[in-house]
């Protein structure tokens, strides 16, 4: 259960939104000249980091508008929300709280909201 701040409507419960997966995935400009492997990469492969993740959301039970968010998938903490026409924030803006690639964050798995 997380709260998401829709850039148009303000803070709402996550159940009002639908997730659109990874953000900033660009459709290849030359699909006909791609190999099966490269086309497969575009269709099926998405980043799945434990930590900082750029993703899309749509406020489907509200204004129905799409927007982007940066979330820490190890704590569900939303670090930034920005509109689709805004520039992708740089990774260096955010602090990764993970001790190791597969490790737990310093506040414990998923307990960010209660253990602040």
């Amino acid at each position: 259960m997380i709260l998401i701040k829709c850039p148009y409507c303000g803070e709402r419960d996550q159940s009002e939104f639908e997730n659109g997966g990874e953000a900033h995935v660009i459709r290849p400009k030359n699909p006909e000249s791609l190999s099966d492997k490269d086309w497969g990469e575009y269709v099926f492969y998405r980043n799945n980091p434990k930590g900082i993740f750029y993703e899309r959301w749509v406020h489907s039970h509200g204004c129905k508008k799409w927007f982007n968010a940066v979330r820490n998938t190890s704590t569900d903490q939303i670090l930034k929300v920005y509109k689709v026409n805004e520039k992708r924030p740089d990774l260096s803006e955010f602090q990764n709280t993970l001790k190791s690639p597969s490790g737990e964050p310093s506040v414990g798995s998923g307990n960010f909201a209660v253990k602040k």
Binding site: S15, S74, G110
Partner: protein, 416 residues
């Protein structure tokens, strides 16, 4: 020394107040080098080590686990076992597992509490009926014991079910009598114990931080207990598999999401089969302790938090209460989440990859427990022979570029 469980050992140990059972496996310090390293000490990983040692004569194996054995999804699922999948490839893989389940307690001399109490998949509308009947027919062509039940037959099996007076009435069901449940901890412990006897080193509380490769060849794993050299590495880390793969420069088509389950307070036996419903998303069975074991759906976004959102449970509990009004006033005791790795076609990946000596057994998504022995068995074959067993050959990573998907989304009897 081989530990044998029998009626005499039970009596003997009860005379000494059960104080002298001894440890089930050693806890050795990791050696510098292993022939095979398995990353992930759940049922699939421990089973892989067991079959590697037993069937393929590999002597020098380590299983490395971040927490304690079975602390991941092996201990977090709703223990349902079935093989009524639509596509041939899946039916073969999952039924390979069911056949192994049937003899696993004897094979490991460890009680899996495997109970073939049958699994029902309910149909709530015209489309469900057509889809489920098609699947029943496909299953029967693959030699599975699935059958179609009408409403009366369902009522006879589960008298407490409300079939008529609800928004989505129950119109029929697929029934697989060989399906059922098993004790999930026992799977990890049984495999661990017998693998240990065959010389496998089980290393707990040791996190793999990265996989070291050189020129598309594995060299070993960097762990919290130092570097371990190995020329073959099998990664069976469920939700964290793609994170580990990334350290070796391998990309996998997986998305990690929380999947929740919950159990109720214990009650007297009321339901002696497993009932699953795709349309209203509720599955329920009753454990030997009397608790109702309820499986919910996945959250709609990627997360590694092992808890999940409340609205997901709410949806499931709503459906449970409508299907079984008798449960309306029950209290839920515990709720938890596990991180499942979902593939675009909702089928697993049991495969080699571009890096020599690196093998993946992942993408089991919401339904990996039922496959544990089968998955471990064919994965051990894949690692030992450096080529897939004919059962897991279709589950190669290459299907995401050649297009031979095994699309079990919706076809697999539950929503993924």
């Amino acid at each position: 020394m081989k530990k044998k469980y029998s009626i005499t050992s039970l009596i003997q140990n009860s005379l000494s107040d059960n104080e002298n059972w001894g440890k089930m496996w050693r806890s050795p310090n990791p050696k510098k080098h292993y022939d095979v390293v398995i990353v992930g000490g759940g049922g699939h990983g421990l089973g892989t080590a067991y079959y590697l040692a037993k069937h393929h004569g590999v002597k020098n194996i380590a299983v490395i686990e971040k927490g304690w054995l079975g602390s991941g999804n092996t201990g977090r699922n709703t223990t349902i076992i079935r093989s009524n999948y639509l596509w041939d490839e899946s039916a073969h893989l999952y039924d390979h597992a069911v056949k192994l389940w049937e003899n696993l307690s004897e094979d490991l001399n460890y009680n899996m509490m495997f109970s073939q109490r049958g699994v029902l998949n309910l149909a709530h509308n015209e489309h469900d009926i057509k889809e489920i009947k098609r699947r029943v027919s496909a299953n029967r062509l693959n030699g599975l014991d699935t059958m179609w039940l009408d409403k009366k037959e369902i009522k006879d099996l589960v008298p407490i079910m409300n079939t008529d007076n609800l928004r989505y009435p129950v119109l029929g069901a697929a029934y697989q009598p060989r399906g059922g449940v098993a004790r999930h901890d026992a799977v990890a412990w049984g495999y661990a114990m017998r693998a240990d006897e065959l010389g496998v080193d089980i290393i707990q509380n040791c996190e793999v931080k990265g996989i070291k490769t050189d020129n598309y060849k594995v060299e070993g794993v960097e762990t919290t207990k130092g570097f371990i050299k190995s020329s073959k590495i099998g990664v069976v880390a469920s939700g964290h598999t793609s994170v580990l793969a990334a350290t070796a420069g391998v990309r996998l088509p997986l998305q990690s999401r929380p999947l929740q389950a919950l159990v109720s307070e214990p009650i007297k036996p009321v339901i002696n089969t497993v009932v699953m419903s795709n349309a209203v998303h509720a599955y329920v069975s009753q454990s030997d302790k009397g608790e109702l074991v309820i499986g919910a759906g996945t959250d709609g976004y990627n997360s590694f938090t092992q808890r999940g959102g409340y609205d997901v449970i709410e949806e499931t509990v709503r459906a449970i209460v409508e299907l079984y009004p008798i449960f309306g006033k029950m209290k839920m005791l515990r709720q938890w989440g596990g991180i499942v790795d979902i593939c675009p076609d909702a089928s697993p990946i049991i495969s080699k990859c571009d890096v020599e000596g690196l093998y993946f057994n992942c993408g089991w998504g919401t339904g990996g427990f039922k496959a544990t022995p089968g998955s471990a068995n064919v994965f051990a074959h894949t690692i030992a022979k450096d080529e897939p067993h004919k059962i897991n050959a279709p589950f190669a990573l290459s299907r995401f570029s050649d297009g031979r998907l095994i699309d079990e989304h919706g076809a697999a009897a539950v929503a993924h």
